[in-house]
Amino acid sequence: MTFQTIAIDDIPAEDLNLAPVALDQWHSVPQQIYNTVDIPLYPGQRVTGIGSHFAPRRFPLKFLFQPASFAARDAALTSLVSRFAGQVQITTRDNPNKVLFAYLEQMPVTAPYNAFVEPFAVADIQLVAFDPLWYDKYPVVGSAAAGASIALAMGSAAVRRLLVHIIGAVTNPVIILYDQTGTEIQRMTFTIVLGANDYLSVDMDRGTIVKSVNGVLSDAFATWATQEAFLQLRPPYSYTLTCSGAALFTYHHRSYKT
C-alpha cells in the first residue's frame, strides 16, 4: 500500500496506477452562510435558511493515466469509475486521518496526445461534497475516573457523534460540560441507579439514551431531566466534561473547515 498523494475509500491513487497532476479546493474554506434558525420553527421565528451553514465543496481532481496499451487504458478508466459507486471517502497525504465524504459529479476524459497513437489520458474528476467539512477518520477516545475531567479535543468546526458512557455504580449521575474558562455550559441530569455492572450510553448525535443493566440494554430516555439538551460542542471554545459520581468514557469525531 503506497499512500503518497490521495486516496479514494482508503485505496491510494498509486495502487490504481493513477498519477494525480492537479488538485484544487481541498483546503479552501467553503462559503459560509449565516443561518438564523437550525431548529424547527417557533412562534415569531422565520426560516431564512435550512440545512448546512456551508455551501458544498466542489473538488476538482486531475489524474494522468500512463498505461502501456489501449486495453490497459480502458481497464484503468473502468477501474477508476467503479470506485465512485455512491459516496466515497477522500483522504490526502496532508492528513490521512481526516476524511471528506464526496460524490462524483462528472469526469471528462481527454487525451494529451493523439488518442490512438499514445494511450495516455487525463481524467478531470469533479467531486462534490455536500457536507464540505473534513472529519476525523477515527474518533477521539476519552476517559476519566469519577470526579476527574475529560478534555474534549476540538477541530475547527462543530463536533460530531459525541458519545458518553456513564459507568456505574452511581446514583443520579450528572454530567457537566465546562468551557475553557471553567464556566458551566451545559449539564445533563439523570434519575437512575446504576449498579457496578451497569452503564448509561448517551449518544448526543443520535439523541438516544440507553442503559445497560448487567448487559441487558434498554431505553433510558425517561431518566433524563426535562428542559435539558444534548451536549453540543462548537469552536472556538474548548471543553471539559466531568461527572462527580461516575467514571466516564467518551468518543467523538472532530470536524474541520480545512
Binding site: 475509500d9 455512491g86 467539512l133 477515527y138 477516545v141 449518544d203 448525535d205 468514557f249 470536524s255
Partner: protein, 248 residues
Amino acid sequence: MSYSTGALEVGRRSSFFFEWFAADGLRDGQLVARTNQIATFGSTSTGSITNSAGGTATAGVKMPRLVAVDLDLDTALEALGLKLNNSLGETCSFPFGALPQALSLYQKIVFNGTLASTPTLVRIGTDSSGAGNNALITSLTSGGAAQANFKNGGTSHTVSVGSGLNAGDVLEMLTQVAVVAGTVTLTQLRCRNGGAIETSSSTSGGTLFAAWSDATLRLMLAATPCDSAYVAIRVAPGVLSFIDFRGS
C-alpha cells in the same frame, strides 16, 4: 428537523455479507455491523480502556472496550479498536446468514497478545471433530503465522502463512475460499504492518458443505487471553484481493 452540521448519512448498500468496523463505534449501546448485524457481547470482569492520550481507565462490565490504537505505527493512538480478552470473559458474536460458498474473509487487528497459545480470531460455525461440524476458523499459530482452518464434516483442512508477530503489530489477514465444481480450495494471506503481502500455497478444503454448523460469526475464541484489538472484519462473496478490502 434539519441539522446544521454533520456528514450526510447516506446509506450505501453493501455488497458484502458482513462488514464491521470498530471506528463505527456503538449504536444505542450495541456493536452494529454496517451490514446491520447486531453483536451479542458479554464479559464477566472489568477491563482496561486506553484513551487517545495514552491514559487508561476501567470499562464497565459488559461494556464493549473500544480503545484507542495506533494503525500507522507512529505511536500516536489515532484509531479505534475493539479489545477482547478471554480472561475477562469477553465474547462477541454476530449472526452470519450467508451460506457456505466461495468467499473471502478479511480481518485487521492490532496484535497485543501472546503467541504462546493459538488464539482463534474469527470463526464461522462451530469447532469440533464431530461429523456435522462445518466451519471456517482463522487463528494465529504460536509462531505468529496466519492460519485458516476449513472444517469439513469435522475434518480439518489447514493452511498457514508467515511468521513472527510483536505486540503493537498491525496485522491484516485474508482468507480466500474458492469453490470449483463443488471442491473447496483454501488460501491464506497475511500482511504485517503494511509490508509485503505473504501468500500461502493453496490447499484443498474438501467438498463444499450445504450449511455452517452454526450461522454465527464469533470473535476471539482463545483458551488463553489474547487482548488484541479488532479494527475491521469483512466477508465478501467470491475470491477477492487485499485491495478490495482495505478501503472503507
